[in-house]
Amino acid sequence: MNENPHNSVSPKTIEQVYQPVTRRTFLKGTAAAMAGLAGLVAALKPLLALERGEMTLDDLLQKHYRELKPEELQRILRELEARCAREHGVQPVIRDLKPLPGVEFGYALNLTRCIGCRKCAHACLQENNQSRSSADDIEMSYIRVLELKKGAINLEESDLYYNPQTVPQKDKYYMPVQCHQCRQAPCTKVCPVQATWQEADGIVVVDYNWCIGCRYCMAACPYDARRFNYRKPNLQSARINPNQSYLSNRIRPKGVVEKCTFCLHRTRDGKYPACLEVCPTGARVFGNLLDPDSEISYILKNKRVYILKEDVGTLPRFYYFFDQ
């Protein structure tokens, strides 16, 4: 509503709008539309570089892992294996391992014995097919080994880049951190599409074909345990681990989040995770929390264990303890 006398407009001002289209207007409009279209095409030109088969209709219509029928899942696994063979020349075996009944995993780390050699971090890279072939790639191992001064847990004073001649250094102790597979995980709570969830054996997994890449879970994690594929993983064929599984170490696409899965392609087969297998001091202890005779139950019964960032209330499955 406009009572102001300053305003003396009437339909006459835009008379042209009410007239039918003249040839001149039509030609001008077409020319403008062509120009606009040309601009749009020029803007979208980089999309030509998208790889064939990167985004297929099957991919778009694929259901969430928990809703897949067995034959659909098998078809997807074969398709993923074929894709890996095409792109890297290595034919992997991608399995779908279900949680074992009566098993809940727990992991303990002996801070007296950890010497900070980083063998676990590097083994994780190799076991989980992570991007690392050129100087530009980050090595986003799921394990970060922190060097801390003896006397306190002050993570702010920790050093990730320590590189002395030998470890352990005298006045320091070493704390590897990876995903704690929390019982009250903040990451699974905040995912808008439920692409990440906790399985029956306690492992928090990600369905890489469902994740939309919003990275809210990365903001939510109090332990900096999750990694995002900002680019397509770059792998040398010779270093690909062909024993893969759908929810853990198959080669991920770009744009999705990944994390430590306690090597579920090994542990659901009854084996130890890769980080434990290479630890030279035996600082890592893994097993079934529900089994009273397991090593992890022994630790929880007999050692003074504690958890990291207890005040955040995540109830993790990863325990730290000192031996002496």
Partner: protein, 235 residues
């Protein structure tokens, strides 16, 4: 000088020579600086035989099948320490210490490097006595707390003699590294013996060079961004 006196003098000389030889022979097998020189090995055996009889406890032999699973070639599971002698024994060599030690008696204290075994320097904390671990007469065996022998392949029982809690943890699988299957119904679980990580004469775990720091975002990490590896940029 008469003939008789000459004979007495040469007899005395011969006797002195013999005494010297005898003394020399004794000195060869004895610690010349040892003020409280231990009794001869023969005497020790007699003492050991006279110690109180302690009850014998049944102990399982320490079985360690080989480490590692096929298909894990990318994971380095070699034990931190190469064990020389006892591994040779396990492989079937006759590593018979008694070959030399038939003649040469053992020393009790350790205070200087030995003439043989020059690579052995004992830095085992308060354990300064060789014969705390090594059997005094049968050098192919170790010695238990009651004087009985511990076979060479049961060396973990020797360590467990003093390091009880650690041995208990090792038996449970939480001291030292286990490899293989946590679910023993699916496959074998293996563990390492004490001496595959700890040198028995210098048991402190040796510091080792760390693997290099992981490569972090080249754009925003502080300083240490461009870490090159020899295997980078290979096809």
């Amino acid at each position: 000088m008469s003939v008789a006196s000459k004979m007495v003098a040469s007899a005395a000389l011969l006797g002195g020579l013999l005494v010297c030889l005898a003394l020399l022979a004794r000195a060869q097998g004895q610690d010349p600086a040892g003020a409280g020189a231990p009794p001869a090995p023969a005497a020790l055996a007699a003492t050991a035989g006279a110690s109180p009889q302690l009850p014998l406890v049944a102990r399982p032999p320490a079985e360690q099948p080989p480490v590692g699973l096929p298909g894990d070639a990318h994971l380095d599971k070699t034990p931190p320490r190469r064990t020389k002698g006892l591994d040779l024994v396990r492989m079937g060599w006759t590593y018979n210490c008694m070959e030399c030690h038939k003649l040469i008696p053992a020393r009790w204290h350790y205070d200087r490097p030995m003439a043989e075994h020059q690579d052995i320097r004992l830095e085992h904390g308060n354990n300064r006595f060789c014969l705390n671990c090594h059997h005094p007469t049968n050098r192919n065996a170790f010695v238990d707390y009651d004087g009985s022998e511990i076979a060479q392949r049961d060396v973990v029982l020797l360590c467990g003699k003093c390091h009880g809690p650690t041995y208990r943890d090792w038996e449970a699988g939480v001291h030292g590294r286990a490899n293989g299957y946590w679910d023993t119904q699916k496959g074998p679980k293996t563990k390492l013996r004490c001496i595959q990580c700890h040198d028995p004469h210098q048991p402190a775990f040796k510091p080792m060079p760390p693997l290099p720091p992981l490569r972090y975002p080249p754009r925003a990490a502080h300083g240490r961004s461009r870490i090159e590896r020899p295997e980078d940029n290979q096809p």
